[in-house]
Subunit: 390 residues, 2 copies
């Protein structure tokens, strides 16, 4: 049964990038201000907050982020919980908010995510990120995330004949889309030749196959139907939400060219929404690495297994294609401040659905799917949204 009572009535993000001199709490406050007073929603209307941060403990020696960040955003005192599922943290915060609204316990809540990553060296950040994998069996013996997705890429290459060029095309598209997105970390187009520069991070993944280390924050106001009317004539409805987990260890997986949690979470979301992949006008997927975008669009049934690369090459996933994917530039070019990402993806979906994406507007924008993915794919949350009048 589709969700009946959950609306997004505002959505905002900060610029993503290396935000020198801007602290975690400052970024968070900026996103919350934009999503509340910036959208004409008084802060006093907010009843509770659901906050995604991944690993501020290791990046800025700060746990217990929910009350702290909320306080700095001018919302002291509200119920506030931090939700963590590695890179899917933001979407798990949204899911908690959905349940809060659907339970009738709250009418108007804040969902926000943030991460300050450039506070430490790249090596320290890599070590912190590695905490999202299994420390006893994988990360402690040297497997970091470029390695994890390098393994997935190799599996996909072997099974489907995917090439380094196929992956590079995903990067080219991401940079092209981000070139007109003023909130993106990278706003420069790149050529296929540049994307293929052999600066290998973890073979076959090269520099341009990897999303960057970023700072940033994003926020949403989520309400019941009744409350939504007070703020807007045109909310975005969340109609489906699915979540699944999987073994953290890759060694426990029987298949490496697909992520079982994406498949399960996608099915759950489609079932709840009463829709199929065919109904989706565009998609926002978790492209932490270029190969991840290819696999996600296959796992969600947007393309058949092994056919995503062809769709990219033919322009199907381009901004003006039949099935745009990551129309504003994705994690790859917009940046990936981990806790913010899952919320920022919803911000993108919201703007696109409402026709408010400027030069990045997709042509058809009634319904979309959003895919947020954690760690080695051990967590996945899929959200299906439609424009209120669609």
């Amino acid at each position: 049964m589709p969700l009946k009572n959950t609306n997004i009535v505002s959505a905002a993000q900060t610029k993503f990038g290396a935000l020198e001199g801007v602290s975690l709490r400052e970024m968070f406050s900026e996103a919350v201000d934009k999503a509340t007073i910036g959208a004409g929603i008084p802060k006093k209307d907010i009843q509770a907050a659901f906050i995604g941060t991944f690993i501020p403990e290791m990046l800025v020696h700060q746990g217990h982020t929910a009350p702290l960040l909320l306080d700095y955003a001018g919302l002291r005192g509200l119920p506030a919980t931090r939700h963590e599922a590695a890179c899917a943290s933001g979407a798990t915060a949204l899911r908690a908010a959905i349940m809060a609204i659907e339970s009738g316990m709250y009418d108007t809540v804040l969902v926000a995510g943030a991460e300050k990553m450039t506070s430490v060296t790249t090596n320290k950040a890599t070590e912190a990120l590695a905490a999202a994998a299994d420390d006893e069996f994988e990360s402690s013996i040297g497997l970091t995330f470029p390695g994890v997705f390098g393994i997935a890429a190799v599996a996909h290459m072997q099974k489907y004949g995917t090439t380094e060029e196929d992956m590079a095309r995903v990067a080219v598209k991401a940079h092209k889309n981000a070139s007109t997105n003023p909130l993106a970390q990278f706003q420069k187009e790149i050529t296929l030749e540049k994307a293929l520069t052999p600066r290998y991070i973890a073979w076959p993944l090269k520099l341009f196959d990897c999303s960057p280390i970023s700072d940033g924050a994003a926020a949403l106001v989520v309400t019941s139907n009744e409350k939504a009317k007070e703020y807007t004539d045109l909310p975005v409805k969340i109609v489906g939400s699915g979540q699944a987990s999987a073994s953290m260890n890759l060694c426990e997986r029987s298949e490496l060219a697909s992520f079982p949690a994406s498949v399960s979470a996608g099915k759950a979301a489609y079932n709840m929404a009463g829709m199929t992949a065919k109904d989706m006008d565009f998609a926002i997927v978790h492209d932490c690495f270029t190969i991840a975008e290819l696999i996600a669009t296959e796992d969600l049934g947007l393309f058949k297994p092994g056919e995503a690369a062809k769709a990219v090459a033919e322009g199907v996933t381009a901004l003006d294609g039949d099935r745009p994917v990551n129309p504003m530039g994705g994690l790859k070019a917009v940046g990936h401040p981990v806790g913010a990402t899952g919320v920022k993806q919803i911000v993108v979906g919201y703007r696109e659905l409402l026709g408010d994406a400027g030069p990045n507007q997709v042509p058809k924008h009634d319904k979309c799917i959003v895919h947020n993915f954690g760690g080695t794919g051990a967590s996945c949350v899929v959200t299906i949204m439609r424009r209120g009048d669609a």
Copy 2:
């Protein structure tokens, strides 16, 4: 309006203490096994999991704990999110589960909490715990948690004339109750003289005023009314749940002898349950330090401000008193594996309400209040439960 559809149908914990050679995932699995198959509930009935861990990132270099722990507990694939609010992490996981059930999205879910703390030195654990306070303004300049609660103790002493002996009596009661609790870290009674041993940790708090560093896990199965009938004739009903936050900084508080988040969360829970402090037969409060128990019972309205110490001295809060507090020994003597604590408190409430607490059974056990508290009191969750037939 009281919650109408949320039941606890099983509850279990591991032994708390320095569990040498037992890893985080092993403890977690033990608690889950006890709460599921140990209670006749097939694991396949569980539809989603809500997991509290505080800071495994710094204690065992492991983030993204929800899917990892769930996998090891034989529940691979389920939706699983980690909830964190410092020492209140466990209760925020329960709150998310309440919303999941009340929203109708799930019928049967797992709530579990765990922490492995003895994996690091006491200094490292103290540094990790300090991440629950404000790093920019307090913890980075040397304020650790014994200091925070030492400040609260001084404020309470100044305002109400509370003495070191008053606090020591809380420790004596805790150890007495834990002496008959085989799952407690400390199972030895202590004399008032011993509790007053002047081994100051942060004046006026001495060694016996402080809860220990512990390992442990706890788990609950939470269901809808319909499902509860399949498992038991006598569930425990959750009728009220309140959560609040406060400034993280003590310097932003106008009052230090009371915690505003406890007051607000308590009021919210009483309101929802349609009950008052007078209705509570016994209480389980967050006694991370002895002073915290005194203040919590005042903040929840169980005693008037400044009168909790007298109640303790007169035996009112003893196991056989009129208003037992922490009948199985509390954090102080049972131990405080941070992420597990909020769930373990519910386990205690469940057992007491069902008359299943053996030598630690309180005489009157229809309704109880449970108070879980995070960091400097910047988070608080209060839960009100009653026996299904009460």
